[in-house]
Each structure stands twice: as C-alpha cells, then as structure tokens.
C-alpha cells in the first residue's frame, strides 16, 4: 500500500489537470468522430466512386417529351468539397492532428504532471493552447474542404491554419519545458524522457517542414525529402514516443511492479532518437534522389529493429507472469494490445523499407494497411487505454459500464484486425499484379481490389461503432453520470477479486 501522502499528492495533481486534460480528451474524441465520418465516406468512395456526388438519374419522361436528357447535370464545382481528394486529406488531418495529437497532448500533459510530481503549472496556458489548437484544426479542415489544401501529404492544412497550430503547439512546448524545470521528482522516469522529447521534437519538425516546403520552398526533389522527413517523423518522433512513453508508465503502474530494465529503456530511447529521423527517405525508393540518400534511410529503417526489439523485450519481461491481468483490466488490455502492435508494425515497417519488398508494396493498399496498423492498432489503442485509466481520476467517478468498454474494445480490435488483413492481402495481390506488364490496370487490377476495399469499409463500420460507444461513455463521465461506488470497472470482476 502506498503511503497516504503520496495518494494525497496524486489527488492534487490529478485535480490540477482536470480542466485542460479533459478539454484535450473531449476535443480529441470530437475530431475522432469527425475523422471517422470522413474515413468512412472516403473508404466507400474507393469502391463506389460516385458515392455522395452521384448525378441525379435522367428524367426519361421529360426526355421523351422533347427535353434535354441531361437537364440536371451535377457540377464538380458545386460538389467539390464532397470529392475523394478533399475528403481523404480531411480524414488524415482530422485523425492525425485532431484526434491523435489532441489525445497525445492530453495524455502527455497528465503524464508530465504525474511524473514531475508537481500540480499542473499555468493551466490557463495549456487550455488556451488547446482552444487555439482546435481553432487551427477547424480552420484547416474547412480550408481543405474549400479546396485550399497545399497538396503536400501530412501538411495539407493551408498555411494560415498551420500558423495557428504551430503557435498552439509552441505554447505546449514552452509549458513542457517549464514543467520539467520545476519538477519535484528525484529520478527522471523513462516515460518522462519520451514525453519531453516528443513535446520538443514536434514543433521543430512542424516548423521546419512548413518553412522549407511552404514558406520558403527549397528546390526540386529536396522538397520531397523534407516532406517525407516530416511525414515519417510525425509518426516516429511525435506519436511513437508518446505512445511508448504512455505504455512505459501504464504497464508497470497497473500491474504494480517495476519496469524490467533501466538499461533497455535507455538503449531503446536513444536508438529511437538516433535512427527514426532518417527513416522518411524510404518513401522515395525509386524516386529521383541520389542513391545514397535512399540507402541511408533504408539502413536507418532496418536499424529501427533495435529500439523496437529492445522496448518489446523490456515490456514483455515486465509483463511476464501478469498476462492474466489482461482478462480483467481494461486499461492494461488496450495498452498491451497497442504495445504488441507497435512491435509488429515496426518490424513490418522495417521490412517494407527493403528495396525488393518495397518494389511490390509501394503505391498499393499494403502501405495503407501499414499506416492504420501503426496509427490505430498501436497508437490509438494506447491512447484509449490511457483514457480509461486517466478519466476516472479526473472526473471523480468510475466508468459506468464494463459492457460498454468491452464493446469498445472488441469493436476496435476486430475492426482494425480485419482492416489490416484486407488491406495487406489486397495490397500484396495488387502489388504483384502491378509488377506484371501483362495485367490490364483498369480491366483486371482495379476490379481485383474491389472486394478488399468493401471489406475495409465494413471493418471501418466496426471501428465507428467503437468510437461512438466510447464517446458516449466519455460524455457520461464528464456529466458526472459515472458510478460512485463499487470500485473500479473490470471486464471480469470475479477474477479480479481472486487475483491480487
């Protein structure tokens, strides 16, 4: 049993975090629902291209009476904001910046306060940054839908929206440095390394990429390098450290034993910092870049096996003997699902950087499957797990229903599993067919992908169910409609009683 003073201190810290963190979580879930809507429509458009922009059926009676057959044509000018190009970019930005980044900031803020052992400093700064952040995303998505996308992948937001987001993030970064400088802890735990690094890395990446591509563009193919340096580092130096950092906190916290090895933590962190920022070039294999640039990034991508395996060993050895807890602890189940996905998706990513495999997988649905594997099965699941842990401590009440959590988990787990299978298998077949000059693109390859894309849309429906359920459950918590007694919510309370 921890000494009561520690519990009292944690209670104060949690309370100081309440408004800003709940604000970030709430807006994250809002953008998750928005992004899910964009995702579903985009996915359906891939196998039904006229979805939502279908021209009305011609009026045959009018035609027979002598009128024009196409009296009511649909104009792309009128429905441009409903087309695939804008919806896809809106989906990416809504989930990457709206959902994933907001959730990451919320979790990161809470983790920093907990691990620095100080009540949240300057809560107004954090909340203001949150408000600005949301304004930036709303403006940015409106800009994309209005056709003002920059058409640079991962940086589609028009420059005015990017500016707002950059300012908001800079405020968070300043806050993070301030928090860290005033820490009361005597030992800087590994999670804190990751969170602090992420809060520092992202504004650097975002500012550099915006300046070198949009404000003062560098020449020619160097823009492509900058673009993918940024695009991959958003994943590697922003989402990944927050996700791993959160797992490093939650796993030992929930099971109540120390993390396996400090040395593994250190090697994992520094090798990630060293290798990840080189990875972006593997998106440009076969592109017009000097061979050594691509080769260096392939080597760095394969070297990512080091931090991944080291971290996986560290987590696994910590969990050893406690896997039974997955049967009842919602937080642990989400987090461990995410941590295992991290290992798998990273090893898959390293293999995809190798030229001979990239030749098949690049520019196919296989890559899309990989992207969702990383951002959903790893990062989003870890964020869900963190929220299940953090929200009761901020709201002062327990989750209302184990049933809703179970529904959320299985909808998300099955949904993302089927999505990855559909995209991976479909993408492999597609890649092999594309490499065969005898195959007809429109006649054979496109129809071949159709069933896989329909399967992906169906799995997207499953994910959407999970999101709606979780958002509903979250709203109940914020409205103080959670349970006030009876202890924590477990999937399987009887087993939780038996086990310590």
């Amino acid at each position: 049993m921890p000494p009561p003073t520690d519990a009292a201190e944690r209670a104060y810290i949690d309370r100081s975090c309440r408004a800003p963190v709940l604000f970030f979580f709430g807006s994250a879930l809002f953008w998750l629902l928005v992004g899910t809507f964009f995702a579903l429509v985009t996915s359906i458009k891939l196998h039904d291209p006229e979805f939502m922009t279908r021209a009305p059926l011609p009026d045959v009676a009018k035609f027979q009476a002598g009128g024009s057959l196409n009296a009511n044509p649909i104009s792309m000018q009128d429905v441009g904001f409903l087309t695939f190009g804008r919806f896809r970019a809106s989906h990416l930005n809504a989930v990457a910046y709206g959902w994933a980044s907001s959730a990451a900031i919320g979790v990161g803020v809470w983790l920093m306060a907990r691990l620095c052992r100080v009540p949240l400093r300057r809560p107004a700064l954090v909340t203001t940054a949150g408000v600005l952040w949301n304004i930036g995303i709303a403006v940015g998505i409106a800009g994309i839908l209005a056709g003002q996308s920059t058409s640079v992948e991962w940086l589609e937001f028009p420059p005015y929206a990017a500016l707002i987001i950059g300012i908001a993030y800079a405020m968070i970064a300043v806050w993070a440095v301030d928090m860290f400088a005033s820490r009361q802890c005597d030992h800087v735990y590994v999670t804190l390394w990751y969170v602090l690094a992420a809060f520092f890395w992202f504004p650097w990446l975002y500012a550099t990429a915006n300046i070198l591509i949009l404000l003062k563009p560098v020449q020619g193919s160097v823009q492509a390098i900058v673009n993918w340096w940024f695009g991959h580092n958003v994943l590697g130096l922003w989402f990944t450290p927050i996700g791993i950092g959160a797992a490093y906190y939650m796993i030992p916290k929930v099971i109540g034993r120390p993390i396996h090895s400090y040395y593994l933590s250190a090697i994992g962190f520094w090798s990630l910092a060293l290798f990840y920022s080189w990875n972006g070039g593997h998106h440009l294999i076969g592109g017009p870049l000097p061979a050594w640039v691509i080769t260096a990034s392939i080597v760095a991508s394969v070297m990512m096996v080091i931090p991944v395996v080291v971290t996986a060993v560290n987590h696994h050895m910590t969990m050893r003997g406690h896997f039974g807890m997955l049967r009842y602890s919602p937080t642990l189940r989400f987090i461990v699902f995410g941590a295992m996905s991290y290992t798998l998706v990273s090893l898959q990513g390293s293999s995809m950087a190798i030229r001979s495999l990239n030749k098949i997988s690049h520019f196919t649905h296989y890559t899309i499957g990989h992207a969702h594997f990383g951002l959903y099965a790893f990062f989003t699941m870890v964020m869900f797990g963190c929220m299940y842990y953090i929200v009761p401590r901020l709201c002062g009440c327990e989750w209302r229903s184990a049933y809703l959590i179970r529904l959320h988990f299985w909808a998300a787990a099955y949904g993302i599993f089927f999505m990855i299978i559909a995209l991976t298998v479909g993408g492999l077949v597609q890649g092999l067919m594309l490499a065969d000059p005898a195959k007809d693109f429109v006649g054979e390859i496109v129809p071949m992908t159709r069933p896989y894309l329909v399967g992906r849309s169906l799995s997207g429906v499953l994910l959407s169910i999970g999101h709606v359920v979780f958002a509903y459950h979250f709203i109940l918590m914020v409205l103080q409609l959670g349970r006030r007694e009876g202890g924590p919510v477990y999937f399987n309370p009887v087993e939780a009683e038996v086990r310590p």
């Binding site: 921890p2 009561p4 003073t5 520690d6 519990a7 009292a8 201190e9 944690r10 209670a11 309370r15 691990l115 052992r117 009540p119 009361q184 735990y189 590994v190 999670t191 490093y248 906190y249 030992p252 099971i255 109540g256 120390p258 993390i259 396996h260 090895s261 400090y262 040395y263 593994l264 076969g286 870049l289 000097p290 061979a291 050594w292 080769t295 260096a296 392939i298 080597v299 394969v302 070297m303 096996v305 080091i306 395996v309 080291v310 060993v313 050895m317 030229r355 001979s356 030749k359 009761p392 709201c395 002062g396 009440c397 000059p437 005898a438 007809d440 103080q480 007694e485 202890g487 924590p488």
Partner: protein, 290 residues
Amino acid sequence: MADDLRPPPEAHDIDPTLPGVDYSERVSVTGIHAAVLREKIEPREGMEPMPIWLWLAVSLLIGWGGWYLGTFSGGYRADNFDERIGSAIAGGAVAGTAAGGTAAKEDPAAAFAKLGKRQFTANCQSCHQATGLGQAGVYPPLAGSEYVLGNKKRVIAIVLKGLQGPFKVKGNTYNNVMQSWEPVLDDKKIAAILTYVRNEWGNKAEPITPEEVAAVRAEFASRKVAWTEADLLAIPENATINVAPATNATPPAAAPSAPTPAAPAPPVPAPKAPSPAAIAPQAPADRPYT
C-alpha cells in the same frame, strides 16, 4: 511533501455554494480518492542487464547496416541515382555491376510484346480501336493498312510526327489530324507499339527495333510539323534506315565492366558501314529500374 505542493484553497473549496466546478466534492472524501488510493505505486525501473543474445542481435544488425550502406550507396555521388552502380569507385568512370542480372530473368521478347500491347491500349486504342479497324470516315484502320504493313521508315515517321489530312488509306480518304507522339513516347515504346500493330489482326510484317526508331527520330529531328500525304509519299517506298549503334547506347550501365573507352562516346559520327561486331551484341536500350 504533499503539503508543500498543495495550492491555496480556491473560493469554491471553502464555500461550496460559490460558482465553480468541483465534481468530486459532492460525495464522500474517500470517494474522491478511491481511484487514487487503490493505485499501485508509481513506476520504477529495475536494473536487469541487457541479455547477451540482444547484444549479439544488435551487433549483427549494425554490421549488416554498414555493409548495405557501403554496397548500395552509389559512391555517395549526388548525380548517381542507381544504387547498383559504382559503389566501388570514387568519382570518374562509373562501372556497370550486376546490371544484367535482374533483367535476364524475363524473356525480353515476351516483355517487348507485352509492352507493345499495353502501350497500344494506353495511347492508340481510343482512335484506332481494339479491333484495329478505326472508325469509318474518322480514324483510318490499322488492320491491313498499306502504311502499317509497308515501308518501316514511313510508318515510324507517321507515329513520330503525326498526320494532317486529307489522307488516303485502303481507298478511303480521311480528313482528320493525328497527333505527334515524338515528345510523348520513347524509342522503345514506339518500336513496341509498331511491332505489335504490324503483327496483330492478321497483319504480318517485320518487327521494328528501338534503334530504328531512334535513327528515324534523328533523321527527321528538324521537322516540326505533321506529315501531309504528299510529304510522306516523298519518302521512297524502298527507303532503308541506317542504324547507328554507338548513339543508341544509353549512358552508364550499357558499358560492360571492362573499361571500353568508346562507350560514352559523344556525338561522334557513326561509321558508315557498321561492322558486324558492332551490331551483334544488342545494346540494352534501357534496364528495368526498380
């Protein structure tokens, strides 16, 4: 320690009737801290050493990384885009390595035929149709066309420069325009398309090589307008194409690994009578780039 950290009580902490959101104070004090009290202690770190097998695996990986970087970095040159070339050299001549290795796996003739069909579908079919019959009165047929089956130089010239009607094919006159494909398609694609067209729909004629297309392209390089019927017929029925092998060799990889000084020869005028040796080893016009 916690005492030092406590913030000064806020107004609504002291008087619950004052405005301010404080959800947790509505229930018992133990209720507030229930979640916090049941928490396990904050995470700490164990000090287990890194396992030996992991050290070994990491060392192996780093070794592989060094080898790969050294082998496939193209000599770290800014102008070398092909990782399979020239890692052993530092500047100067670029030696071809293993270039033919991957290309040899597929039968080049079959690949050439596939390329022709695909390129025809992509570029020609919308007018001349998959049947090769064209459209009556609008687009002339290719099946059985005297130009398709006739002199090589003429048919290559048509594809390169395009046509300006009126133009007579198989007894029918077509008053239409065919675009110039010179800027769009390279020699290999044009050769593949023409070879396909000359041997499809019952057509039977000699194949056309990329070298021949290149030669015709060079011969008419100065012509900027489409052919009229009269201009085209000015090319004699029995005209031959002088293939100049030296100019066809595309830069680095075509050179065999032995240093052949002649390989990257600039526009040296081709020898008038090509020796059999110069023609025999067909210079690969390009290599599949992955």
